[in-house]
């Protein structure tokens, strides 16, 4: 049976992910999770407390950004 996948743009690259994937699940699979990152979904900042309840949809554009704190 064909997997139920959707297509999103993650950090500028097309990616197929499982339907009903949350941002929390996407963040957890990234190494940056340990050091902290910010998440942008369709040009809007997503609060960390909303990662678990934000389900990614077909065609969404996501950016995982490591904030800059150098001066």
């Amino acid at each position: 049976m064909k997997e139920d996948l959707i297509h999103v743009i993650l950090n500028g690259f097309g990616e197929a992910i499982h339907r009903d994937t949350t941002i929390a699940q996407l963040v957890e699979r990234r190494e940056e999770y340990d050091v902290g990152l910010i998440v942008e979904l369709n040009n809007k900042f997503i609060f960390p407390q909303d990662y678990g309840k934000t389900v990614v949809k077909e065609g969404d554009k996501l950016e995982f950004i490591n904030p800059d704190f150098g001066g």
Partner: protein, 243 residues
């Protein structure tokens, strides 16, 4: 004064500034936190623009490794405090501006005395913890906090206005900083520090269309700017009670 008019003529002729705007600039008091890459650019442009009073703080001395990006400092300044080095250059650039620089550390117990009666904070720090201190102070005093940060080929900037916008903690709570030397190419703090100076000037002039609720992200490798909409975080433990 005729000399001053000549100095600022190219900005006075801008309709949004004019002589009235130049007077506002000359009466403004701005605090620049840090005199590294970001502070070099913002302090230089704020001095050149004729901001009346600039107070600046940095705890460090000039080192050789600073000189690829910290354009206020020169090879001959190595070993001198950044505060003294910056004061020398900025006084030479524009003697009409009152420049006060201090070699000191911004902490919870020093921030009030250091910021004093300045009405804008320009963030030119190189670490997360001091930014958290400045953010709390900005909220306490109700004064704008212009955040800027850089790393590698990238930079970020937004303007936090207490009561109107999210605060620094709304966006960056839970972020941990890695204790490591950060790579940076010189022009990037030049870009971000210059944008911070523009924001400070606009605030002084009373111009709208600030970077309120907008986090501007610059990436030099793609030569692109991206804007991210940011909102107050209802779970923010720092600003929620004050907004």
């Amino acid at each position: 004064m005729k000399d001053d008019y000549t100095r600022y003529k190219r900005q006075i002729i801008i309709p949004e500034i004019g002589e009235e705007g130049q007077k506002k600039l000359s009466e403004a008091k701005v605090f620049v936190a840090g005199l590294g890459g970001l502070g070099s650019a913002s302090a230089y442009y704020l001095t050149a623009a004729g901001v009346g009073y600039l107070k600046m703080v940095d705890r460090d001395i000039v080192e050789m490794t600073n000189l690829n990006r910290q354009i206020l400092h020169r090879t001959e300044d190595i070993g001198m405090s950044k505060a003294d080095s910056a004061k020398k250059k900025l006084n030479a650039l524009n003697p009409s501006v009152q420049i006060e620089t201090y070699r000191d550390e911004i902490r919870d117990d020093t921030v009030e005395g250091l910021v004093g009666d300045c009405s804008i904070i320009v963030d030119a720090m190189d670490n997360l913890n001091t930014r958290r201190i400045l953010n709390r102070y900005s909220l306490k005093k109700g004064i704008p906090f212009i955040y800027g940060g850089v790393e590698k080929f990238n930079g970020m900037i937004t303007t936090f206005i207490p009561g109107e916008t999210p605060c620094f903690e709304c966006i960056f709570s839970g972020i941990k900083e890695i204790e490591e030397v950060k790579g940076i190419i010189g022009p990037v703090p030049g870009v971000i520090g210059s944008l911070q100076a523009i924001e400070a000037i606009k605030i002084i002039l009373g111009l709208d269309r600030l970077l309120k609720g907008r986090l501007l992200f610059f990436t030099g490798l793609d030569m692109a700017f991206k804007e991210i909409k940011i909102e107050k975080n209802p779970h923010c433990v720092v600003c929620l009670g004050r907004q």
